[in-house]
Symmetry: C2
Subunit: 338 residues, 2 copies
């Protein structure tokens, strides 16, 4: 088969790779219905994160089970399944606590920008839909695999409650779906920080009530103005830079909640500053597995349509153009059809 492999900064190739096969008795092999490019893929693509060796890319996936290992009992060939970027046994103490992304046996699922994928710990990792979904649902079900689950975690980790005031830092796909999640959780006011018209439009469609175009301390000042000088109850940091993190912390009221769901790059928090900000801070790699059953249900029942973040659809072989379009911010998120 052919799949996407990153060789170095802006050098993504679509090339021959071994077709994955069952390697462990707990594995499943799935044929992908769709895959996509993640905002986090852009860190190594841009050279901000080193690529020590040619690396098969992609960690968002949904598709049909082709084969399972001898120890797999719940997942069956023929099922349509969705999983997260961390395979988890869904049975250890960390999984029981709802932190499957810190499963004691977790394995990163890589190489999903390809037609076929091996998923370890299949019974713990994959969630099957009741029927094979219609083609129209595929983009939203694919979104659930990471970007929607991560946006949902952003809202959950920032304690979004009915009636509260939320600010979202970052207008990438995760930020936009954090807006959708906050809306779904009953937030009354949702301030989206965005300076791109098409993204502002989607943010409003997803439930944003206010748009702030300023960044950094000017952005904080605008949020203070919009919240009577107090700050937002919940601020969802969906970027991962020093500026966005401090913007989030400073825009939160004392006793309020800051979540951060993008891998921080070069972020350092000064203890004293954090101390006097008096915010709650929580984040990390989203435990998407915790949310999969609920989110799949919301998608299948037409309650949410997170697939709208895909504003570019390409055949898998044009994966390089998907990266380019996202890197140049011509596209919010690129869906790839194998």
């Amino acid at each position: 088969m052919r799949g996407a492999v990153l060789y170095g900064p802006r050098d993504i190739r679509f090339e021959e790779r071994d077709t994955p096969r069952i390697a462990q008795p707990t594995d499943a092999i799935i044929t992908l219905s769709a895959t996509c490019v993640c905002g986090s893929d852009l860190w190594p693509y841009r050279g901000i994160q080193a690529v020590p060796e040619p690396t098969p890319m992609g960690h968002e996936y949904c598709g049909i089970v082709e084969d399972v290992g001898g120890a797999v009992t719940k997942i069956k060939p023929g099922q349509f399944v969705i999983g997260s970027f961390f395979a988890s046994d869904n049975a250890c103490p960390n999984c029981d606590a709802g932190y499957q992304s810190s499963c004691q046996h977790r394995e990163f699922v890589g190489g999903a920008q390809a037609p076929v994928l091996r998923v370890p710990l299949a019974d713990g990792t994959l969630v099957a839909t009741s029927d094979v979904p219609t083609k129209e649902l595929i983009p939203s079900l694919l979104a659930v695999s990471d970007v929607m689950g991560t946006g949902w975690f952003a809202a959950d980790a920032a304690n979004v409650k009915p009636g509260c005031t939320v600010a979202v830092v970052g207008d990438g796909a995760v930020g936009l779906l954090a807006v959708l999640s906050a809306k779904r959780m009953g937030a009354e006011r949702i301030i989206a920080m965005s300076r791109h018209e098409s993204r502002q439009k989607l943010a409003r469609e997803f439930g944003a009530t206010d748009i702030v175009t300023e960044r950094g301390e000017a952005g904080v000042a605008r949020i203070m103005e919009l919240t009577g000088g107090v700050g937002a109850d919940s601020v969802l940091e969906c970027v991962g830079t020093q500026e966005s993190m401090m913007q989030a912390i400073h825009a939160t009221r004392p006793g309020g909640y800051v979540s951060y769901v993008g891998v921080p790059h070069g972020v350092e928090l000064k203890g004293e500053e954090l101390f006097f900000a008096q915010v709650h801070l929580h984040g990390g790699p989203a435990p998407v597995r915790r949310f999969l059953p609920k989110l799949i249900d919301l998608v299948c029942n037409g309650k949410i349509n997170p697939g709208k973040v895909f504003d570019l659809t390409l055949p898998l072989e044009q994966v390089a153009e998907g990266y380019r379009a996202m890197d140049e911010r011509r596209a919010i998120k690129a869906l790839l059809r194998p």
Copy 2:
């Protein structure tokens, strides 16, 4: 009157100061029944925190109201009152949210190592007992003013719940009262990190079930061992150094809670490390005012006896010896009688 004034590292003087008088119509003047030396007083005493000018010291207090300003309506002369180190109006949005230490009109209450103290925003800041308490209760009521309120906040901010496993980093008075607070909140297992025998003894008396004498990564390893390799549900950081903070973060299970209640000195948290630790983090200057009514009630009804942390009692004029004894760790906490 004479009170304690810090001139520079280890130069604390007991000298003549103006007796405080009503300066604002919202003030109260109280005659102190007792005051004490705080662990946080040791930072400037040790020269770790600069003292730009001679500074009247002390911020823990309880006593009898002598006089109130014209705008004070609830607090009356003759009442026995307790307040916190931050005066607060207890009426602004931050106070309403339970974060009185971030009151929009907060003022630091300093100079309490003296016979008489001016307390701003008296109606919002002070809580009166129903009767003037017996002499025996004074140490515990004084403790409520800061060190007990801060220990309680440590447990509250780290989400201590019935049945959970708690670790406390730091065996100073705050750490010991964090143990007491965790016990009171129903923690099943409380691991106190301490290498001083007298403090271990008091920790056990307050409810500690396990003592860990190792520090840093060795201390983390011990906690991992005690928790089946998972980490504690709640870790209460009561020191404020880089080592103690990282010890707390690394000893917490993914999805668990870390609180920090001592002003961090030289602490820097790397975003990526925090991200993959996946803990909840919350702390800051304790909003003691939120807890005063409850804690006063627990003390007056004999349910808790936080005054046990005072293992040295001195006449106020010997305040310098109180600092020395705490600096040299000969005393956990020094109570001063004016």
